[in-house]
C-alpha cells in the first residue's frame, strides 16, 4: 500500500488482483447482483483517490471495506433517487406489467432471498462475518461501532435468518 500511496500503478494493479474476488462477493452478497463488478471498480478508484489518507497503523482490509461501504451507500442513494423519480413518472399500466416479474415461484425462495429481506445493518454484519470471514473486531472497525454492537447485530441477523428460513408460506413474498 505504501507503493500505491506513492503512485505506483503496478502495485495498485497487484493489490486490486489480490482483493477483487472478495470484494465482488461482498457486493453480490449485499445485493448488487448486476452492478457488483462496477462497484468493485468504483471502490478501487476511490482507493487510489484516497491512497494518501491511508495510515499504515490501520489494517488495509479495513480501509478497503470502509471505501466499499461508501461506494455501496452512494449506489443505494442514487438508486433511491432514481426510483423516486421513476415511481413519480410510472403509470398504473406500467406497474401492472411489472407485477408478475416480482411474483417469484415458491421454490425460488432461498437463502439469497432471505438474506435480501434482512435490514441493511443486519445483512452487512452477516456478509462481513460469514462470507468475508472477518472477525468481529474488524467489522467493528469498518462500521465504526463498538464490538458489542457487532456481536448483538450478528446474533440478531442469524436469528432473523433462521426465522425467515423456517417461516412457512413466506415464499410467495417478493
Amino acid at each position: 500500500m505504501r507503493e500505491v500511496a506513492s503512485g505506483s500503478q503496478d502495485a495498485f494493479a497487484a493489490l486490486l488482483r489480490r482483493h477483487q474476488h472478495a470484494l465482488l462477493n461482498f457486493f453480490v452478497r449485499m445485493g448488487a447482483y448486476n452492478e457488483g463488478e462496477d462497484l468493485v471498480q468504483e471502490t478501487f478508484l476511490r482507493l487510489f483517490q484516497y491512497r494518501k489518507r491511508y495510515r499504515p497503523t490501520a489494517r488495509f482490509k479495513t480501509f478497503l471495506y470502509v471505501l466499499a461501504r461508501h461506494a455501496w451507500a452512494d449506489r443505494n442513494r442514487a438508486l433511491m433517487r432514481r426510483e423516486r423519480l421513476t415511481s413519480s413518472l410510472r403509470t398504473d399500466a406500467a406497474i401492472r406489467e411489472e407485477a408478475p416479474v416480482e411474483n417469484r415461484p415458491a421454490d425460488a425462495y432461498d437463502v439469497r432471498t432471505a438474506l435480501d429481506r434482512l435490514s441493511p445493518k443486519l445483512k452487512e454484519v452477516l456478509v462481513l462475518s460469514v462470507y468475508q470471514g472477518m472477525r468481529y473486531q474488524e467489522i467493528a472497525d469498518i462500521l465504526g461501532v463498538p464490538l458489542g454492537t457487532v456481536k448483538s447485530r450478528v446474533s440478531l441477523a442469524v436469528d432473523a435468518m433462521r426465522r425467515l428460513l423456517d417461516e412457512p408460506g413466506s415464499d410467495n413474498e417478493p
Binding site: Q9, F12, A13, L16, R17, Q20, H21, L24, N25, V28, R29, G36, E37, V40, Q41, F44, L45, F48, Q49, V111, R112, A114, L115, L126, S129, V130, Y131, R135, Y136, K151, S152, V154, S155, A157, V158, D159, M161, R162, L165, D166
Partner: protein, 442 residues
Amino acid sequence: MSLEATTNRSDDEARLCRQAGDAAAYLLGELSDAERQGFEAHVAVCAGCAGELEGARRAIGALKTLAPVAVTRDFAPEVLARLESTLSWERRALAVRRVLAAAALFLLLLGGALCFRAFFRQGPGGGAVAGAMAADSPMSAANSEALAWLGRTQEPDGSWTAAQWGGDPQFDVALTSLAVLALLGPEPVSPDRAAAVRKAVGYLVRQQDAKGAFGPSFSNGPYNQGLASLALLRAFQALHDESLRPPIERAVAVLCARQTPEGGWGYWGGAAQEPNLSVTLWQTEALKLAVKLGWNEARPNVRRAVRWVASVADDRGSFGYRRANDFPAGSQTLAAMGAVAVLNDHDKSVPPDRRELIRAKVLESAVSSLGAPDYYRVYFLTAAMKALPDGAGASQLALVRGHLVGGQIALGAQRGSWPPTDRWGTVGGRVYATAMASLSLQ
C-alpha cells in the same frame, strides 16, 4: 438432551437466558477459550440455548450453501484505464490553478505597469505581451507534446488508425485529417511536421474515389468528407503543394453537390439527410477555406450554409441541431458551433444584434465548460472565442485551455496524448482526443 426436546421450547423462553445471544459468536469462533467452554457447559444444561444454537447452526449452514461468485475477468486493466483519466483530471485541476496564478501575476504586473506609466507618463507598456506569454507558455509546451505524440503514432502509410488507438475504423480518414490539421497548426511548420503531413496527405488522396468522395460510403461519411477536404486545403495553404489542386477540386465538387436545398448538410442516405449543425460545420469550414484559397465557385454555397446555420439560432443566441429550439435546454456545443460559423463569416450575413447575442452565449458557455472532458465542445468553444472581436473572452479562453492542459497524459508511452474519455471517445479514440485538444490550444 435431544434436539427435538430443545426445539420444542419456545423462543421467548430461550431468549430469557442471557447466553442465548452467544450462539452465533460461538459458531463463528468469536468466543475466547474460557467463554467457549462456559457456553458449551451452559448449553448442556439449558434447553433454550441449545435450541438457539441449533437454529443458529442451521441458519449459518444455509448461508454457507451460497457458492462464491467467480470473478470472470481481471478488473485491473479497466480500473487502470479509468485511473488514467482520473489522474488526468487531478493534473487538470493543478494546471487550472497554475493558469489562475499566472493570470493573477499578469494582473499584478499589468497594474504595476499602469501605475508606473501613470506616474512617469511614459509610452505604452509591454505588460500585456509578457502576461500573454506567461499564460501561453504552458499551452504551447502541451501542444508540442501533443504534436510529438501524433508524430510518434503515425502509421507507415501516413494514416492514424482507429484500430490502433480506439474508435471506429470507418473514421480513419477523419482521424488522419484531424491529425493533419493539428500538425499544421503552429507556424512555421517544422520540416518534421511537414514530412508527416505530406505522408498523411498522400494517404488521404489514396482514400479519395474518382468522383472526389473520401473513405467508406456510409451514413457518417460527411465527417470523413468535410475533414479530409479541410485537411487537404490546409496542407495546400501551408505547404504550397500544387499537386493537391486536382483532389481538392474533386473534394469541393462533392461538398457542393451534397449541400441540401436548405443550405446545410446532413448524413448520407435515409431520413437523416436532413441537415444538422455538426455535419454542416465541417463542410462549411472546408468551403470557407476553399473560397479563401481561390475556389470562388463555392462562395454561394458558403453564403447559403451560413444562412442555414443562422436559421437554427433562436432569439437568445442559442442554436438548435436541425432547427431552432430543438434542444430546448440549450447545448454549449451547438452554441459554439453556430458561433464559429456566424462569427467567422466575413460576409456578415447575420445582423449585428444577433451576432452580439451569439457572442454573449459563447462567453457564457466558457464559464460552464470546465466539467467533464468534451474535446469536441472545447474545440468549437475555443474556435468561437478566437473569433470574438478585440480579444474579448481572453481570460475565459486561458481558463478553458488551462483546464484542458491538466488532462494531458504527462508520463509513459502515451505522454502528450489525451485519454479518449469524452462522449465521442469510443468513436474517435485517442487520436481524436489528442488532435482536438491540440487544435483547441492553437
